[in-house]
Point group: D2
Chain length 340, copies 4
């Protein structure tokens, strides 16, 4: 059977992550994330991402991480600003609203939020009859695979400061963003601009788990209670701590992301060479718009996702992962070639 | 360093579980629990626990599983009946209340709920000024390691039927309960009496994960949406599916539980032989009441938990797990012997 | 001081409502809405609005009524479909999200929702990663004073039926809608098409209170518990029951609404005669777009609301109420005349 | 028909309250509690109750007021300490849990909470697996009509300070408490010890409404947004403001309470003279334990509440109100006399 290009979480884990789990498989560890592996992983992450005063918590998935952080950061009447296409707004089954908070939607451009988006929200939310916007939520890489530049992140931070807003970065695919050839954001800038962010494991070769960095002390108070209250405290926290330790003690995390991007770049080049109209995206999501029949052939053969149905044409999405190999890309390109 | 007797989730996983994860480590699987391993595990669990019409979902931890099920089963004004000592009432940081529901507390006896507990609640909750009790929550084994008999479970079911109540069984330690030497409950009775229950993995040798069986069709509708809404949907659902498949395809689950109980029995016999006053508990939690100084020595050496501080005396708890070996018990007993 | 045209809830109550309250001021009544006045008012409302099997509850305000009904009708992962301009979406400070539910926004036309709006939502909400739309929320009259026709309401009902959706009508200004000269909806159609609706008192001359009709038996079960759980149960329910009894036993409710509309019509005619560009709106909200300076003069003199700031021009809103008199309209028109 | 002694909210309002409403019945007022009457009433209340820096909000009922304040004061994982008999714990249909917070129950004595109750809770709630107690909730008068002394309130405040806890006083019957013959608490002490409290109108002769005083600036921030978010913002806030202005500008509030207590005292003396075993209660709730048959005769004739059913005996409760007259008490005592 062919390798699928459906997403970046269809293969369990990098062999090196599985080895780490086996290595410590019979070791006794303190539960609830208070173990030495979690502590070590936390300090590696804080150093790498420029968050010396942050607190790191290991959770089991992205939706959970978003809802845990946002519900800790906001009062009942406070709202999140997000792009309409934001993961929390579309693909989390109302999890943020489930904790009681409205998401105020802005248009953005190319999947990214800009200060002008925030300014417009703040100009119209002026009294107690509307929610009080309190936090800007962005993803890097974004839902359509684009990435923020250094200047864009700084401008957002300044805008948030002007309005007393918090800034949260959903880093489900942070590895892919920061190892993109087009990236100019150093990891340490993430900690410098965000009140909270997470470093995604599930979509970057870990068996499961996300590392949430609570980077604003006023939110960190009592945070472990909050995690437990939301059902997100892992008894075997060290199961995730061991993985992030392995991912960050020798650069594995970025190696996996870099390889993922490399495969996506190979794929984009190949598709371009075949004359297919691919959307410009610098990370591991590749969007192509094709006539309906051809799009459906790709979907059938490679499980890639139908992103947008425009009737006669369809935009489909290919995703590469740590487990995508050169030969898989070659096979897909052969298939594409035969299809045209 | 000595083996700790602090709890049953301090060691990552049974080697056979880790092997299963490695075996399928590079296989491609459909995400969100829609894979073949999860389907296979679900059918094994439904068969074993007498729930042919149940729906099985794999979640990441016990508190999460409890809150997901209870918040799906209850309307906003409906309440849960639980023992005061119930896990949801004491040790889940208000997670059930966090989803909006009151827990109505009953005393029970020896850690177990009886029909008379329920009758008293129903007699006093008669109008719209009080919550409407709608579900009885019990654990098997209980918080103090006791287990329900066949007749007790049936009597609870009948009582619930009389009052239009749902019955939920928290099976964080269901393996230990059903393999206890004193147990007379066949696994299939669980599915026969419960509207919902879970089969605990975290505390029985799995790396992580609980198998929730939604056994009442009126609650099952839209349940996957509900799981996602609560942040509990695992992208790599197959990571838990693979483990439960391994646990139930050849009896591993009960083997691990049986060994855990055997080690606890060895420990209880040994302590008894030393003349120590142990509480009668037929599963893997062993409670002993000792003079303060001796209790503290045990806590320091074996990480066992202070269960109740009565001033001059202390009740401490030893827990065995799949990873406890004969030699660990022997060492602990030697220490106990030297202490007396 | 001039009569203000800011809104329809700036004057306490119609003298006839105050008389009714005084008449029963020292009478003993059963609390919690179980009194004879509430029962009588409920039966009058059910008859008038074609809801023979509905249950009527008297609540204290519109936002409360909306959140009480919606949170009773929806499971945690279910969502409301509303216009972007919908009261629940803009002017209730996130109260619906506060009970855990996402509002899915549709554009509509002229302040009204159409089946095509619903169709588009249903076409894109197809799996468990997105919320499950379950209820369409509309207002009559709408936020911009427009009203639904008989055919439009029936078409919405049919569309809801096709998709298994509930339909809720926010009737904060239902009186004004149903007594508009352009209205072709008989009151009984409201009960025929809606699973729930409320008949607004606060904005139609009552001291306070809304009559919520729960018209779908599956939602009505346990509803009084739900009201209390949300803090919306009035101890002196009869305080609202007496008012609605007075409003419906001899036609006062529609008399007040009809007069309100008449004053608005007088105002619209007068403004039109002065050549001012008024938006076509058949109820008691009158929208005019004026040069900034003139708009601000009106705001200063009559407290009318700035509806939309387009820079050089501003749209402002005048609202008439039961307390608006001919002379007030004449005075406003004189002012308008002098301004031009 | 006889005057009922069922509760203190069966008669609409004191004639003087109704007069005030009529007096301002056709006056135009700014909505949402921003009117001059509400401002005046707020300043009278702040002065009377020693809360110069408090913020006053007028809400529609007691359960609503409790849930609004508590949900604003607490983070998701924080809990309320309350007596088991506390109104929020028994008679509010889980409204506090409905906002996500656990109520930790303490026994107290004679309906009152003592520092030792709090100390025990704080001693057992020591880690993130249990909720974090954050606020002590008491009522004055209590559920069984007892009242706090000056020293008791001060001792509670000190205890709360020691543990970083907030103190909230439910004043549904604060008038009755502070005008009791046994009372030694000056009104100004309420503001001196409480982070929040409310002055009850519904149970003290107002048509409806409670005055919530948010007395801790850290909770007051954004409070109006919070009220609206909970559906508790009254469009015609001045409807309550006018009543509290009338109640506090010339002492009416305490006059009504004092009369209520006087009637209760008359009743207690009379019942005592008849040799009936009445519970000692210094406010307007009178508890008597009688043989079942006699208790039931009282219930049938006077609508008084069955408080506790002990089988052969029953404790019943008589409540006096602003509307109870001497002749009503005489009639009841005649009935009692004839019954014995």
């Amino acid at each position: 059977m062919s390798h699928k290009f459906q997403n970046d979480y269809s293969v369990l884990a990098s062999p090196r992550i599985l080895e780490a789990l086996s290595r410590y498989g019979q070791e006794e560890n303190v539960p609830y994330g208070l173990d030495r592996h979690s502590a070590h992983a936390a300090s590696l992450i804080k150093e790498k991402f420029g968050a010396p005063n942050g607190s790191v918590y290991f959770l089991s998935g992205g939706t959970q991480t978003n809802l845990v952080f946002l519900s800790a950061a906001l009062k009942p009447f406070e709202a999140v600003i997000s792009l309409g296409s934001g993961h929390i707004n579309v693909h989390e089954t109302g999890a943020v609203e489930g904790t009681g908070h409205k998401i105020v939607v802005v248009p953005g451009k190319e999947g990214k939020m800009y200060p002008e988006d925030i300014e417009k929200v703040m100009a119209t939310h002026r009294d107690m009859h509307m929610v009080k916007p309190r936090l800007a939520y962005i993803s890097n890489s974004t839902e359509i695979g684009t990435i923020y530049t250094r200047d864009e992140l700084r401008a957002l931070r300044e805008c948030c400061d002007r309005h007393g807003l918090l800034l949260f970065i959903d880093g489900a695919r942070l590895g892919s963003a920061l190892t993109s050839k087009q990236n100019d954001v150093p990891p340490s800038l993430i900690g410098a601009v965000a009140d909270g962010f997470y470093v995604g494991g599930t979509k970057n070769g870990l068996l499961f788990g996300e590392a949430l960095v609570v980077n604003n002390p006023s939110i960190a108070e009592g945070f472990a209670y909050h995690i437990k209250n939301r059902g997100a405290m892992l008894a075997k926290g060290y199961a995730v701590g061991i993985q992030f330790e392995a991912a960050f003690e020798d650069g594995l995390y970025f190696e996996l992301a870099e390889k993922t991007n490399r495969m996506a770049d190979r794929l984009k080049e190949g598709l371009k060479r075949l004359g297919l109209p691919i959307m410009d995206s610098p990370t591991n999501q590749v969007f192509v718009t094709l006539p309906k029949g051809k799009a459906e052939a790709f979907i059938a053969a490679y499980g890639c996702e139908l992103w947008e149905d425009q009737g006669e044409k369809m935009t489909i999405r290919f995703v590469t992962s740590f487990a995508t190999e050169e030969k898989d890309v070659v096979e897909l390109l052969d298939f594409a070639s035969s299809l045209i």
